[in-house]
Symmetry: C2
Subunit: 477 residues, 2 copies
């Protein structure tokens, strides 16, 4: 038996042994009934005097953690009442019980997808192709950043590494028509933290926040956690229906470039209407620029932020879709009026993000690797998108139609009327034939349909997966 | 003039040029009055047809972004009203104005220390010696983690990388007598995020939270941000004065191992009193195990969490003091009753932390490098601590006395009564002779004194710095 005990010659030996044995027993790593090694053997293994080990066993016996068993050997006892591998899971009375229960009940559905294993052919949304990750370039910049940072690294400014903020500002001015300088950029732990900071600063308990419906579930969960009053606003073929915005909203969450989950882009008229509504009501608009970097057709549309002359739009983006979610790198371009408040919120939330990854990304962007990488991604996703559209037209036309989308790496598909099966049922059947499908209803859609992401399915798998779907739909009809 | 324009042969050329020029002007990188290169020259530099450049200039002229100047050349115009390098900083009416102002006014004092340059001899607290950072070992594990992660990396579980949670649980069971398994560990972005998640789940607006006074300012700022009602509870030579705890508190924040800033350890009697008070009131206790890994004398004291049989203590620690703050790695050991709620809070706050650093730290700990590194740190800080204590006795005895502390890398010093100078005045004078001092009053202390951190001052600098302090104090008397 290997007890995983480490003895340090520079510290009192018996005390170390005792503490480690106690830890192993109390934490449950040595289970009740386990026999401890004989004192002579353990002393030999650890290079200790036998007396030292015997004393530790004696102490553990006094502490009722071990007991002598049938004449020879020492055995781990059942832990006394109130002790256990960890504090008892039995309910204790807590003053904050209601609040705790409310947090336990929060909906955090969509991001959980990532925890569950993917199907062989999976149309999960929001997850980029891992094979596209630019390993070589990234490794090179990571190592260079590690060398340059040196010295362990003290606390960095809450807004993030200056060179990264400059690179983000430059990229967004070019690629998204965002009007900003590095001073407006706050680097966050993915887009989700940007939303969290904005909600902290803008919407207290009971404040009205308007969200697109159908929409992005993690934002709804977040708003609920902050006690905001959520008002869903419908989306049509032109994007968010601005006429339906509640006048008392302090905050609006929208995805103008590529609506989540329907995929439509907000028209210029709706964008102007949204901005003048915000000017009238004093609301702030969160522009989630969700996967807009992947544009396949049509004129590039500038961001809503680029049209905003008042400073009412907070532009949020991330590198989760273009590089990898595991990097946890995102940003908010703050309107001037919010900047200091957001920086304080970031400072108090977690001080700042890890320096190393920010330095690596700054180098990656400054040397042109990011633009090169985006081009490669767009080419690959364009191939998949064409296969998806062709496959839908060829194979699934009797049952489903794809909504058009100019950008992004998912499209929404709606069921034809009068089918004998709905999205949830189809997703359950599809899972049995190794196809991963995601019903729109789980994202608050009124219409029955599916989110068809093509980040994790190889082009050659698309026809096969659509073929299986057609078989299931044919059999159900 | 280098315009930093990048032309991608796979996209419409004129459109790209126009967008980039527009971005450069709107973002202010091309200032008003700047002359643009002649069309022929720019076309040549970028490998474009001259006509393409001419058309882009024409369009920018129509958009009133550039103008023809005195017969030849094109110049950047002053931006039209409402346009500018970024949205106007002029105040706009915002529905959330009060909330924004409240966030702007939040106190975030202590962590700001890190942004300002250190004095030549600086007694800043909470900042480890960068020269102790284990560069070689860390680089090796970082590179190995990068290779092993491969594949870009999808979303990871909110609780953190399993191997890291196991390593933390094992370390804490051994080193701090914490009773936990990997399932109880939630990896956070430094200790500050652990506090933030706990406050979200446990204390809403108006709820009473007890904090040590004097205490750790970033936690007070955080509580204010969440709208909690803060009740300061005094600290004496035995630690937090448990008799003074407000019965209606839902949460208590305490630093039992090494009180911040006074340095005293909480006695066993006070620990028992705190736990039975919590059992009576239903409050949760946050145990901030602030720099307890650096122990110089006395019996190792187990954590408060190790005494807690009910699951009322949330144990918080970080690697900011033992490795580097820039890593942003911390953790909370959650009582069972809070675990699901805390995981939801983490999930909604930022989904999870960056995978790479968690994988690297897991390897670093599992291979014994962390324990080895801690021993090295303790040896170095012990040297500095001895010099500090000897220096105070030799040099500063007429004016200041050090409070005893068994652990941690700072001690508090109190002024003798009746001096003509206080901590704030002394700190201001000391700065002029390149000595960094930090008055206790800024941390809410009633007594006048100084926080004497020895993380950033080399042993050989300590006598020199104390000598300069003695000169200043002598001159002021």
């Amino acid at each position: 038996m290997d007890l995983h005990i480490v003895i340090d010659r520079n510290e009192p030996l018996g005390e170390q042994l005792l503490r480690q044995l106690r830890g192993l027993i109390r934490s449950g790593r040595l289970a009740t009934g386990t026999q401890l090694p004989p004192t002579r053997l353990l002393a030999q293994q650890l290079g200790l005097a036998r007396q030292t080990v015997a004393e530790a066993y004696e102490r553990l016996t006094l502490e009722q953690l071990i007991e002598a068993g049938r004449g020879r050997g020492s055995f781990v006892r059942a832990l006394p009442a109130g002790e256990g591998p960890r504090p008892a899971a039995t309910p204790v009375r807590l003053a904050s019980a209601e609040r705790i229960a409310a947090f336990q009940a929060l909906p955090v559905p969509l991001l959980r997808f990532a925890d569950s294993p993917l199907a062989r052919w999976d149309f999960v949304g929001g997850s980029p192709e891992p094979a596209l990750f630019p390993h070589e370039d990234w490794r090179r910049h990571l190592h260079a950043a590690q060398r340059a940072l040196g010295q362990g690294g003290a606390h960095a400014p809450p807004a993030g590494h200056t060179a990264l903020r400059e690179a983000i500002a430059e990229h967004l001015a070019f690629a998204r028509g965002v009007r900003c300088t590095a001073a407006d950029v706050i680097v966050t732990q993915g887009a989700q933290q940007a939303f969290d900071l904005l909600v902290r600063v803008l919407a207290g308990p009971g404040d009205v926040v308007a969200v697109e419906s159908p929409g992005y579930p993690p934002v709804a969960g977040l708003l609920q956690a902050h006690g905001a009053r959520i008002v869903p606003v419908p989306v049509d073929a032109q994007g968010l229906v601005t006429d339906a915005l509640p006048p008392e909203a302090k905050l609006v969450y929208t995805t103008p470039a590529h609506q989540f989950p329907l995929g439509v882009a907000m028209t210029a008229a709706r964008r102007r209407a949204l901005l003048s509504w915000a000017a009238r009501t004093g609301a702030i608009v969160i522009e989630d620029d969700y996967d807009s970097e992947f544009r396949f057709e049509g004129q590039p549309r500038d961001s809503l932020q680029g049209l905003d002359t008042d400073g009412r739009v907070a532009f949020v983006g991330s590198f989760s879709k273009t590089l990898a979610p595991s990097l946890r790198l995102g940003y908010v371009i703050s309107p001037p009026a919010l900047r200091d408040a957001l920086l304080n919120a970031k400072h108090l939330a977690d001080v700042h993000g890890p320096s190393l990854l920010q330095h690596a990304l700054a180098r990656f962007m400054a040397e042109g690797n990011y633009r090169k990488h985006l081009r490669r991604c767009v080419a690959e996703y364009a191939r998949r998108r064409e296969r998806l559209m062709a496959g839908f037209a060829d194979t699934l036309a009797p049952w489903l139609r794809l909504l058009p989308a100019e950008a992004g790496f998912h499209q929404a598909a709606l069921f034809m009327p009068g089918l004998a099966i709905d999205g949830t049922q189809l997703a359950a059947l599809a899972r049995r034939v190794d196809v991963g499908l995601y019903p729109l209803q789980a994202m608050g859609a009124q219409q029955d349909g599916l989110l068809m992401g093509f980040g994790r399915i190889p082009p050659e798998g698309i026809e096969q997966a659509l073929g299986r779907m057609a078989e299931l739909l044919g059999a159900a009809a």
